[in-house]
């Protein structure tokens, strides 16, 4: 195997490794943030276990206690938490 190919493979592996890790950390931070937002509104959730991005600043959230919410930033700049079935 060519030496350049080896170096390139190593670099790609490293980049992918850190990218995956960074993405996971970001997602965990988002879940924590959304958990805090729901709690701030006084709604039951426990802990956010899954987040699906619907649009920018608009998330569909599933909680550990099986509640589901839509959390989004409205035009007035307010964070809104809507319960979903």
């Amino acid at each position: 195997m060519n030496k350049r190919t080896v170096v390139l493979t190593q670099s790609l592996f490293l980049a992918a490794f850190f990218a995956v890790r960074s993405f996971a950390a970001d997602e965990e931070a988002l879940k924590k943030d959304l958990t805090a937002v729901i709690a701030l509104q006084g709604l039951p959730c426990g802990q956010v276990v899954a987040v699906k991005t619907e649009a920018e600043n608009d998330y569909a959230v599933s909680c550990k206690d099986e509640n589901k919410y839509r959390v989004y930033l409205n035009a007035a700049g307010r964070v809104v938490v809507e319960k979903r079935k």
């Binding site: 592996f13 950390a25 937002v37 600043n57 930033l73």
Partner: protein, 198 residues
Amino acid sequence: MSATRICLFVTAALGLTACVGRRDIPPPSPPLTSASPVPEPAATTVAPATPQPAPGVVPRSSVTTPAPQAAIKVAPPVVRTPVPIARSPQPAAPPAASLTLDLNTLKKQLKETKAIGLFSKIALKNQVDDLLDDFRKYYQGKVKIDMTELRQSYNLLMMKVLSLLQDEDQKLAAAIVSSREAIWDFLADPKKFATLEI
């Protein structure tokens, strides 16, 4: 590529990952409220103990060992210990005063802290704005709520802020706790509240 090289590479990657994954642990904040009062009693108890010429008997009953050692280090070996002792209460006062935050500083520090996520910050700001609106309406006589209800809302909001901060930004949480009453006094005074620019 040899197997040894691959092993070395993976080990290095895992080591780096461990470093990256490690969260910033805030430095253990000194006990903010209890830090300043401690030196004062130590200094006052030391005062009678050191100037005694000790006429042979060993009447040293005090257990305050650190304070005399510090005094001895600072002062020359002459028996002039009361001079540094008299100075000690003066530097203790400014840190206690600087612990209280005004609203603008609090706002700035809450914006900057990494302990609260962006959405939570916006949600908190919404709730702060709502509370300030309630105060405004109360002072204008537009709403039928009393000061007790406003105080309850204020306490609840403070609890929310502290619960978000206490694990990851203990310094700011402690500062907020110490400023809590000062902020309330500000909000509960119509004249001071009228000067508010948030």
